[in-house]
Symmetry: C2
Subunit: 278 residues, 2 copies
């Protein structure tokens, strides 16, 4: 059970750090550009140097898609590398997919069967039958977008629904709990929404929350832990750019390791302060 | 201007037919399976045989993604074939993407710059800054999901928002009109929502509507035309499976042509009945 491995990792590493692989060819160190597959080389070094401090990796699919065929090749190599070298690591395809049933089924096939990711991020806009195809796979998980950290999250996600007085993002969470195999659902909550993290933690006390937006997007780890961390330790906090682009020189992997170690250390402190791991 | 070409095509062909390329390797005729790229061979024959009756093609990206690298190769060949052989044809990447700004920008690069699609379908859940990156390209268009035709559309899209008494899908449309370069937005409206098509037509009288769900999903062309067709002729009606899988034998391209011709004939009748084209 991959989810059990994730739980064990969080307790052993005293870390709930997810590292986002938003790998932009324009931002990787120039000495890598002569390599046959600079994106894979970069990712491999980042993974090798940071995995002691991280429990999950989240490739951002758009960045690979933007490179065309070679990008998909790099992505395939990265996920295969993670699955073979670090089988305990949890993997998230940050793809924000979602379509009518037979189409969602194709996306699920692409990311769960072919690429063998453990989980995928999904947009809830099209409702139940657009998400359920992803929930029908054993040991595979959906991170459902609820309240994101971008400014546009206010446009719709925070609107109140008349008949329930819930905000749309709450409605998404409550509805999703009724869906088939809803125990395979985890939730994406942007880091800037501190009050709402606490509210969401209460709505889904037994579900993992994935919280992006720490670092480059400005979210505070302390606030997240105060509001999202409890006995279950079912939390993943993602940081991408502020780790992987810590240095643009030859020491990039070492600097990424230091950035990851610093976050892990902070996480360990909050875990211990709360008395959550003996 | 590609949009002018689309308008001209609709008037010349007396058709607003979009053909969805949801190409499932398990459903294409068995005699093609020995070909080097059966998906491209199938698509090419379908396009060659039906383009007299259609004004747009809409590859469903999930079906290509599910085939891995070879699927992306097939997709690239198909879009290149459409752009070189039929430059007047409007192309839609049915991808349902949407993410925070810098990530949406990568998706836009993938579909607009690299693959050279004219337009892409986008989910509105993350709001303004998740859509605007797609709107910043000249001569490129966004089809924003509003009210879809699947059963899950009732979960959120039809919910009433407290402060405006609009349904969520109406809120999406009204908000989107305020976004930068909103004249590059077109709207996806599922065919089963006949009453709402009429309502949406009034909200965005000058925008194209893309209406999927005719054929296999059961929508009626007559109802759509009565509610969505007016002087502007800014309508695209999509049919996928009921055209491309008209026959599973060697006559598949001919049968697809007959299915497309039948729909075009019906469309011409509604256009003429309404006195819209002299």
């Amino acid at each position: 059970m991959k989810i059990k491995k994730l739980e064990n990792q969080i307790r052993e590493k005293k870390s709930f750090l997810c590292i986002g692989l938003d790998i932009d060819l324009d931002r990787i160190p120039s000495h890598l550009k002569g390599e046959q597959d600079p994106i894979f080389s970069f990712a491999k070094e980042i993974i090798d140097s940071t995995n002691k401090f991280a429990v999950a990796y989240k490739p951002n699919i758009a960045f690979f898609e933007a490179q065309g065929l070679s990008g998909w090749e790099s992505l395939e190599k990265i996920i295969n590398y993670l699955n073979s070298e670090y089988p305990e690591i949890f993997t998230i395809a940050d793809a924000k997919r979602g379509d009518i049933g037979n189409t969602s089924n194709m996306y699920a096939k692409a990311f769960f069967q072919n690429l063998k990711f453990d989980s995928i991020t999904i947009s809830p806009y099209m409702g139940k039958d657009s998400v359920e195809p992803f929930l029908s796979f054993d040991n595979k998980y959906v991170f459902l977008l609820t309240l994101t950290s971008n400014s546009g999250s206010e446009d719709f996600q925070l609107k109140e629904i008349s008949d329930t007085s819930n905000k749309l993002y709450e409605e998404v969470i409550l509805k999703s709990k009724e869906w088939k195999n809803s125990n395979n659902i985890m939730y994406v909550v942007g880091a800037k929404n501190v009050k709402e993290i606490s509210r969401i933690r209460k709505l889904v006390p037994n579900s993992y929350l994935l919280i992006p937006g720490v670092g480059a997007q400005g979210g505070s780890l302390k606030d997240i832990c105060e509001n999202g961390l409890d006995n279950g330790l079912k939390l993943l906090v993602n940081s991408s750019r502020s780790i992987i682009y810590s240095s643009s020189g030859e020491d990039y992997a070492e600097k990424a390791m230091l950035a990851a170690a610093k976050l892990q250390e902070e996480m360990e402190k909050y875990i211990i302060d709360k008395g959550l791991v003996l």
